[in-house]
Amino acid sequence: MDFVNAIILLLNYIFVPALAYGSQLALGAIFVTLIYGILRFANFATGDMMSFGTMVAILFTWYFQSLGINLGVLPTALLAIPFAILFMIFYMLTIDKFVFSYYRMKKSPPVMLAMVSIGVMFVTQAVVRIIIGPFDRRFFDGERFILKANEFKEMTGLNEGLTIKSTQVLTIIITIIVVSILFWFLNQTKTGKSMRAYSDNEDLALLSGIDPKRVVMITWMIAGILATIGGVLYGLDKSFKPFTYFNNMLPIFAAAIVGGIGNPFGAFLGGYVIAFSEIFLTYAYKKFFMYILPESMEPDSLIQLLSTDYKFAVSFSILVIVLLFRPSGIFKGKVL
């Protein structure tokens, strides 16, 4: 029985939260990796683009709520996502037209484009803060929990409860759907294949009649979809705050590089690698060992490998180690 308790404990505090957090990171990481693979620069505006998409979704949510429209047990924000995506695609294409395309035509070095993306980051951040303010916003409505700790305890008669939030399940389901569609698109459709060809070898792709403008446009559209969905899911699960979104850029980059930048599947897994290692290394295992060890060997200390303050530092250290030993990432990068 103690053993089952220990497993439930790990499920509750490590596995479920890490799976949800990892999915949110994975969507962002695929966004980074797509931009890197096709447009060939590190997009420092990632976090702020996600916060922009989320902001639009929140504004739509508020509008729907004021009209009295809701989805019952599901959050209203889900209804707002398609509208936010449309807006976001428009925003991405506008930015590309007025900012990035000029440097692409000039064939500027990637560093230059990265600098330009910092300018975009500043502007986007300012716009978000001017429109919605820098404060914490919660926009979740509907049923909060699928499984409450108490119910679970009553159901099974165990000591440990298992809490599953509806946002966590939503995050995981939506991520799986979006990522499957994306991989299907990249691997099976003609457009997806042309994108992969463009990413792999630009000159050869141009020679075989692939229209670069179309590829770039579709990339930005996919980026807009990923940014909005990833941002909204994160905001539903935790809360929306522009500064947090900006900071999330860092673990997202770590995930993209760990998975091998330019490789969407690697980025997808990279998100989970980062999330699981962050939570595994900073969890205090005292209670876990109390369950599985006999009483005489019970630990006194918290048995925590690293204090929770170093949560971010964990993912960055993983990144540094990966960069040192396998600069191309765990899965070979640069093959979209």
Partner: protein, 456 residues
């Protein structure tokens, strides 16, 4: 002289703007802006050496700034004797253990063939070392942090004059840059940018959460100053005389003796804060001038020419027998050390060390905006970028307020849209920075004062 015409014009405009602030707002504000402009100028010079001379992207400026600030604390705060008694020995032991780990890893790296076993050895040395460190340091940290946690709770520093920390800050930052450079300099440009950005976050989180070192987020306040205190100045006779002389025109207009005295004491209070800020400005100008002369000499020396050759064509420079890796490491350390000086200067100026305030937006990306706008590769451009961008950063709010009032003058004062805009005035600075950066990169990609190379 003619080739310097645009440099001189740009600087005159900048000084004129600061003087305008002094006249229309107040001299204290103008001098505060000037001081931070000077600090920013030092930071941009550091970043410019790396980016402009060598083409290295360092997005870790925040980390070096914080290390410089840490140096200011560790140099100037008097040691906490009780803390040293209870935990000093263990912490020194930890230092020895860290050195041992480093040397044993180096030994393995040098003396073993490249194989899986070598990696396992290194990993096991590091893991074992970390466990020993935890065991040794755990109780010591606990007892150090228990000593008067509201006031000290850390080991304290050396109790030396804070001005030494400017040099120590350079060494701290340079040391960190050596480690990062060894690890990350082989990476491609954009990887290097991301890696340095993340490493600087690690540095900040260590400073924030290791309370025994510098109190972490509990902040260290009341650092010693290299300049007199306002309160002391206000009771000094020579200073009161000086203020009276300076303001004699205004004082003579006041008739009553009592009112004159009241006006004088008001002037003395105002004057003291201006005087203190002037002292800081003097110190900072000395640092900026020294760095400008040195970097300018270096730029036109054979070494500077070699750096430019490496930047423009690495392979060719390598083929000519220049050691690219070594030079990159060297310039990475030098630039970071200069940023470290700026970090120490900033903490000295503020008199407090607040690790929680180090954010990448303010300390990394803003500095980069300064370098790009000012003109990469040109020291005068970098300094000007520091001045102009910091000025705009501070004055953005008043400018934005003015513009909002101008454009919404048709709307009523209670209009929700207008009120919302006025409420969000502080965020217009990000907008201005972003638009400024984008415009400069589009229409003047080499910056306001572009790099000039005269072949003599």
């Amino acid at each position: 002289m003619k080739q310097y015409a645009n440099v001189i014009t740009a600087y005159i405009i900048m000084i004129f703007l600061i003087i305008m602030v002094g006249i229309f707002q107040s001299w204290a504000i103008a001098l505060a802006i000037l001081n931070f402009c000077l600090i920013s100028a030092v930071m941009t010079m550091g970043a410019n050496i790396q980016w402009g001379y060598a083409g290295l992207i360092n997005f870790g400026i925040m980390g070096y700034t914080a290390l410089g600030g840490l140096a200011a604390v560790l140099i100037s705060v008097p040691p906490v004797r009780e803390a040293w008694q209870v935990g000093g020995l263990s912490m020194l032991l930890c230092l020895v253990i860290i050195v041992l780990i480093v040397f044993s890893v180096r030994y393995v790296l040098k003396n073993f063939q490249k194989s899986k076993r070598k990696n396992i050895y290194i990993a096991s040395i590091i893991i074992a070392g970390l466990i020993i460190l935890r065991i040794v340091s755990g109780p010591a940290i606990h007892s150090i942090e228990a000593i008067e946690p509201a006031k000290t709770g850390f080991l304290g520093g050396l109790g030396l004059p804070i001005i030494f920390s400017w040099i120590a800050g350079a060494f701290f930052a340079g040391g960190l840059a050596y480690i990062i450079g060894k690890i990350a300099l082989g990476l491609r440009a954009d990887y290097l940018a991301i890696a340095t950005l993340l490493i600087s976050e690690i540095v900040i989180s260590v400073i924030k959460h290791e309370d025994w070192l510098a109190r972490g987020v509990k902040n260290v306040i009341g650092l010693k100053r290299p300049v007199p205190y306002e309160v002391n100045l206000q009771s000094e006779q020579w200073f009161i005389d000086l203020v009276a002389k300076w303001n004699s025109g205004k004082l003579n207009l006041i008739s009553g003796a009592e009112e004159k005295q009241a006006a004088l004491s008001q002037f003395v209070i105002e004057g003291s804060s201006v005087f203190v800020k002037l002292c800081y400005s003097g110190l900072f100008i000395i640092v900026v001038a020294i760095l400008l002369i040195v970097t300018q000499k270096a730029l036109y020396s054979p070494w500077g020419r070699m750096m430019r050759a490496i930047r423009d064509n690495e392979e060719a420079a390598n083929a000519m027998g220049k050691n690219v890796v070594k030079q990159h490491l060297l310039i990475f350390i030098l630039g970071s050390a200069i940023v470290g000086i700026a970090g120490a200067m900033m903490v000295t100026h503020d008199g407090l060390f607040t690790p929680g305030s180090y954010r990448p937006m303010r300390y990394t990306f803003l500095i980069w905006v300064m370098v790009i706008i000012g003109g990469s590769g040109n020291n005068f451009g970098a300094v000007l970028g520091g001045f102009a961008v910091w000025f705009l950063w501070i004055e953005a709010a008043p400018i934005a307020l003015f513009l909002i009032n101008l454009f919404t003058s048709g709307l009523a004062d209670t209009n929700a849209f207008k009120l919302h805009l006025i409420e969000s005035v502080p965020y217009f600075r990000f907008l201005m920075m972003g638009i400024g950066l984008l415009l400069i990169m589009r229409y003047r990609p080499k910056g306001i004062l572009p790099e000039k190379i005269n072949i003599k």
